[in-house]
């Protein structure tokens, strides 16, 4: 036990005396949370609307005010002809053009003769669709308030966005960032630090000692395990109090499943370290075979359901997919642990498999 503690102490020396590593380990969660939580949000803000109105009627003025009052929109101005707004659109000073036809007066004239047109920049189809939807709902709201049933004759359903009423993308990203970070810290850092000892030759010296080789490896995992737990707490705190993401499920279940995932990632790191010989190789394997799939195939950013079938199958072997799915259910939806039994079983199975393989592949000698 004393020997084990000496090893753990040594590992902490390595981490704390390498400012770059320390920066990665402790800075990354904060940077990623901020990046994904604020910068990379998929919500659309600051939509510039140019309005074309041949006549400035009271209705048009009211609609314009209504749009300008909405926090998503900025009205660049009301123009008589198409020339100026088209120019603004080309210069990306306007995202949407709202155009009223001649004699636009829905409260007086028959509906067939009153027309509006929304012109939007569809070079990014996703934003174009969302901008249009937002604008339509603002206009519909206006007419509903005015009780003009002729313009909105349909029954509009009351939509309720469950678990994330504000439709904030941070809700989606927080579990994803956790899934990504654990892989980077546990898998990449552990494998790199084990391989570093092989590369610098210290592993030779450690092996020619009474210490059981497996203990050398286990001791290497302890600091990264501890750091992962620190990061887990950090991320949960930042999410809860900075991004206002709810942590609605049971804390016990969230930590439980995270611990399983951390152990799985550590086993993966150990496996990689037993295969490769250089730090660069360990880094590349971790990055190429783990980070990219985690980002692309785990459902962290892109929904798995819309991926081609082959990738849907491939995503099943990505541990992060199951972890992220479980964390969404537990954290965001606040479901009890019984709803994530499937994910827990799969993650446990993967962890046991990885630990077994890495123990089998583990060598008591250099080669």
């Amino acid at each position: 036990m004393k020997v084990f503690l000496a090893f753990v102490k040594k590992e902490f020396f390595h981490i704390f005396r390498d400012p770059r590593t320390l920066l990665i380990l402790l800075g990354m969660p904060v940077v990623q949370i901020i990046l994904f939580g604020f910068a990379l949000s998929v919500e659309i803000n600051n939509i510039n609307v140019a309005i074309i109105a041949p006549e400035r009627t009271e209705t048009i003025r009211q609609i314009t005010n209504k749009i300008a009052a909405n926090r998503y929109f900025t009205v660049t101005g009301i123009y008589d002809s198409e020339d100026k707004p088209a120019e603004l659109m080309r210069r990306e000073k306007a995202n949407v053009i709202l155009r009223f036809n001649h004699d636009f007066n829905p409260f007086v004239r028959p509906v067939s003769e009153t027309q509006m047109q929304i012109i939007t920049n569809a070079s990014n189809p996703n934003t174009a669709v969302q901008e249009t939807m937002y604008l339509q709902s603002v206009i519909n709201d206006y007419f509903r308030e005015k009780q003009v049933s002729s313009v909105t004759p349909t029954i509009s359903p009351v939509v309720r966005y469950l678990y994330n009423p504000g439709m904030q993308s941070a809700f989606n990203f927080v579990p994803g960032i956790l899934g990504l970070l654990m892989i980077i810290i546990c898998t990449m850092m552990t494998s790199v630090s084990i391989v570093r000892e092989k590369e610098t030759g210290t592993m030779e010296e450690l092996l020619v000692s009474p210490v059981k080789p497996i203990n050398i490896i286990l001791a290497k995992m302890v600091p990264y395990f501890a750091l992962s737990c620190v990061n887990l707490v950090t991320i949960l705190l930042i999410s809860r109090f900075v991004l206002n993401v709810p942590v609605s499920g049971s804390i016990f279940a969230i930590f439980g499943i995270s611990l399983i995932y951390i152990i799985l990632a550590l086993a993966l790191g150990m496996l990689i370290s037993s295969i490769v010989k250089t730090q660069v190789a360990a880094m590349l394997i971790s990055a190429m075979s783990l980070m990219l799939p985690v980002i692309i195939l785990s459902g962290m950013i892109f929904p798995i359901e819309s991926a081609p079938e082959f990738f849907r199958w491939l995503s099943c072997i990505i541990p992060a997919r199951w972890y992220i799915a479980a964390m969404r259910k537990l954290m965001i939806e606040g479901l009890p642990i019984t709803y994530v039994i499937k994910e827990i079983v799969i993650l446990c199975g993967m962890a046991i498999t990885l630990i077994s393989i890495s123990l089998l592949k583990f060598k008591n000698r250099l080669e």
Binding site: A6, K10, F13, H14, G201, E204, E205, V208
Partner: protein
């Protein structure tokens, strides 16, 4: 019982033969030197003996323990200093020592007497990170770490490579002290001048043992007269000497060219006038006793 027994060990990496049917013993309390150029297979042999890699063929034992089946006992007993500096550069001298002491379940204080002579030289740098030590200091620290658990057999892979002459001399003095304490030592070196410090030496070349003997025995076995020649133009002199019919073999050796002759009745005067006729000046020719290096060069020519 021998401290180290090596029987018909062979090891290949792909198509390269690192060790080719090697056998020798190191007696208890002996300071045994393995002499050979880079790539001769010295490190491979060390790694097999310290149970780090497996030989393809043959058997070996350290302190009577088999390197394969009883590797755990060997790892308890031996001290190993790899060729490359392999301590933790980001840890201080003291931290490295304490760490390696606890790895072997001991403390620096308990075994201080064994390493005292060496440790007192690096103790002033206790709080310096080991990466920032000079080459000689690094090797002293590495030796301390290898000795901290009172090993009965010490493996030193090129301990003096990259170390200045003064530190090298000190290092060998330490090895003699350790030998007096009953520790068997197997060391390797590419420096021929260090060979004389060992009780016995083995020449190793391309995975084969050329000869094993005491340094004196090896020099005795040189078995023919050896001459050293020097003149004003050493570069062309080598070719000129080689072209002289009576010269068997000639090679550069420090400030001189050493050469052996075909006939023991070789006359210095005739050779002197041959060189004079070629326009050389300040010619000096002396018969000398062979050194270990001469023996190595002779054996590796065969």
């Amino acid at each position: 019982m021998s401290a180290i027994e090596i029987n018909n060990i062979s090891k290949t990496y792909g198509t390269t033969t690192a060790l080719d049917n090697i056998s020798f013993n190191v007696k208890e309390g002996e300071l045994f030197g393995l002499i050979g150029a880079d790539g001769a297979g010295k490190t491979t042999l060390f790694r097999i003996l310290t149970t780090l890699i497996l030989a393809d063929k043959g058997s070996a034992s350290v302190n009577g323990f088999d390197v394969i089946s009883q590797y755990k006992s060997i790892r308890n007993d031996v001290g190993y200093m790899p060729g490359r500096f392999s301590l933790y550069g980001d840890m201080t001298v003291k931290e490295n020592l304490d760490f390696f002491a606890s790895v072997f379940g001991t403390t620096l204080e308990q075994n201080r007497d064994l390493i005292e002579d060496i440790y007192c030289q690096i103790e002033p740098f206790n709080n310096r990170r080991s990466a920032k030590l000079s080459g000689g200091m690094k090797q002293k620290l590495a030796l301390c770490c290898a000795l901290i658990h009172k090993p009965s057999v010490l493996f030193l892979d090129e301990p003096t490579t990259g170390v200045d002459p003064v530190s090298r001399k000190e290092f060998w003095e330490m090895l003699h002290k350790l030998k007096k304490k009953g520790i068997s030592i197997l060391t390797s070196t590419p420096y021929m001048d260090e060979a004389g410090q060992c009780d016995r030496i083995a020449f190793i070349k391309q995975g084969k043992i050329l000869t094993i003997d005491t340094p004196a025995g090896i020099i005795d076995s040189f078995g023919e007269p050896l001459f050293a020649v020097s003149a004003n133009n050493m570069h062309t002199l080598l070719k000129a000497v080689r072209e002289y019919p009576e010269v068997k073999n000639c090679y550069t050796f420090g400030e001189y060219h050493h050469f052996t002759v075909r006939d023991v009745k070789f006359k210095k005067a005739g050779f002197l006038s041959y060189l004079g006729s070629l326009g050389y000046e300040n010619i000096s020719i002396n018969q000398i006793t062979a050194t270990v290096e001469d023996c190595y060069l002779k054996l590796s020519e065969l």
